[in-house]
């Protein structure tokens, strides 16, 4: 009788304890999904007014970028193995230029927004990241697949990458940067020169 009770008790304990890990993982994915929903809504409400000036749009975009994207980590990853080869001065300047590049490249794309809807579907857990899958719906045309990679550094959700129809923006950036560095004898300084030129000429 005692043995049965203990066994039952042990089993009951297992049943109670077992799902905890599961719940934690789901919580993370759930939180990531809500996070993306809120970022998408904010981006749409703040960045898509047609009458906004470029400067104004860029300013608002930069704010959203700094708050919700892990820009430093993305920048480091985009530089790949060359991050190790860069000294502190180069790293600092590179990260500033990298952020400027993102702003000048992407901020004004929101000008062309025309009531597309972002519908969030599944969220999948991938190691330390959550992959939030969404569709950009555009009227009668085929929707565009947009996936968001979300990390959780320092207790806050941050976006690490956006994958559009299978194309990772961060991966594409990294390929570009490593090509520039490689063709210039492996010197990060040449990439920095190119970035300086690109971000000032676009202004």
């Amino acid at each position: 009788m005692k043995i049965a009770a203990v066994t039952l008790g042990a089993l009951a304990l297992c049943v109670l304890l077992a799902p905890t890990k599961q719940i934690k993982a789901d919580e993370f994915s759930d939180g990531a999904r809500k996070f993306i929903r809120s970022v998408a809504d904010q981006a749409i409400s703040q960045l898509t007014k047609k009458e906004m000036s470029s400067k104004e749009r860029e300013k608002k975009f930069r704010l959203i970028l700094k708050n919700y994207f892990d820009v430093a980590s993305i920048g480091k990853w985009a530089l790949g193995r060359y991050w190790r080869k860069a000294d502190n001065e180069e790293r600092k300047e590179y990260l500033i230029l990298f952020e400027n590049l993102i702003v000048t490249t992407y901020a004004n794309r929101f000008k062309n927004y025309s009531n597309e809807n972002i519908a969030i579907n599944k969220t999948v857990r991938r190691g330390k990241m959550a992959l939030v899958q969404s569709n950009l719906e555009r009227g009668g045309q085929k929707p565009i697949r947009v996936d968001w990679r979300v990390t959780f550094p320092d207790g806050q959700y941050k976006i690490f990458d956006i994958v559009v129809e299978g194309v990772s923006l961060v991966q594409t950036q990294r390929s570009e940067f490593s090509s520039v560095i490689r063709r210039n004898g492996g010197k990060v300084s040449d990439l920095i020169i190119a970035l300086r030129a690109k971000t000032t000429s676009s202004k």
């Binding site: 990853w77 991938r126 045309q141 085929k142 990772s168 570009e176 490593s178 090509s179």
Partner: protein, 268 residues
């Protein structure tokens, strides 16, 4: 057929000469650099960049101006109709490749689209099938070869045709040969038809990609590298039929592995 053969021969000769004349040599000293070179899989980069330069000039002088005129003269509706028509007549090649890949459902979807669009869609100029839930998908023999586990091989920049690799280039050739429109044209002495169609396809494709290409032109510090990366990622996605499993896309699994690099505490 004669003109096509001549043009193909010329292109192959041009390409071969540029390859022979300039082959990139691997960096032998640094093992990390060597690993990166091999992973990049672009041993003909010098020749490829040369051809890329040629393609850009061709685009600037001919393709872009023609497409600009097309975009100015033809209203949105007309351009969409032409695009729909071109998509519709690709059906036989898409179905063939669906079947060769063992994708019965996708083949059925493509056939359904063809019937719906050819009838209600007014000979394919309209696309009611999409709204009815039959979404369009692309298939080609290059993708079929990939599904049959043929490795893509080194990156190739083809004259006029753009980014490719040996597997996809052979795929394009096979698709050209098996296309029933080309059979019909050859047998009924209408050999200009495939050429006209290719020309219209070119302009339509340039039109569809207009914003993307403008973007790269404006924002990329190394357009050649951008195209290479974009091409490979899009191909991987197409081969995978848009399924979102991160592991199948090498680009994304790279990201998962390397995330340690980005950790500020890891002293990297």
């Amino acid at each position: 057929m004669n003109v096509v053969t001549k043009v193909l021969k010329l292109l192959i000769i041009t390409f071969s000469i540029s390859v022979i004349v300039s082959c990139a040599s691997p960096p032998s000293s640094d093992p990390e650099a060597l690993a990166e070179y091999q992973k990049l899989n672009d041993p003909f980069e010098t020749a490829n960049r040369g051809i890329f330069g040629f393609n850009q000039i061709l685009d600037k002088l001919i393709i872009k101006p023609v497409t600009t005129i097309y975009r100015t003269i033809a209203p949105d509706v007309v351009r969409e109709a032409i695009h729909n028509f071109l998509q519709n007549i690709k059906t036989p090649v898409i179905v063939a490749n669906d079947l060769l890949q063992g994708e019965g459902n996708r083949a059925g979807n493509t056939i359904a689209r063809f019937f719906i669009n050819s009838t209600w869609g007014l000979l394919g100029f309209m696309d009611p099938a999409t709204e009815m839930g039959f979404e369009q998908h692309e298939e080609d023999f290059g993708q079929t070869l990939a599904v049959w586990v043929v490795d893509e091989g080194p990156y190739l920049m083809l004259p006029v045709l753009g980014p490719s690799n040996p597997r996809d280039a052979i795929g394009k050739l096979v698709d050209w040969v098996i296309d029933p429109i080309h059979w019909w044209a050859a047998n009924t002495d209408n050999s200009e038809v495939p050429l006209i169609r290719t020309g219209v396809n070119g302009v339509d494709t340039r039109d569809q990609l207009w914003e993307v290409l403008e973007d790269i032109e404006k924002n990329s510090i190394d357009p050649y590298a951008s195209y290479r990366s974009l091409y490979r990622q899009r191909r991987a996605d197409d081969i995978n039929n848009g399924k979102r499993s991160g592991s199948a896309n090498p680009a994304l699994s790279d990201l998962d592995q390397d995330l340690e690099l980005a950790n500020p505490d890891s002293g990297n």
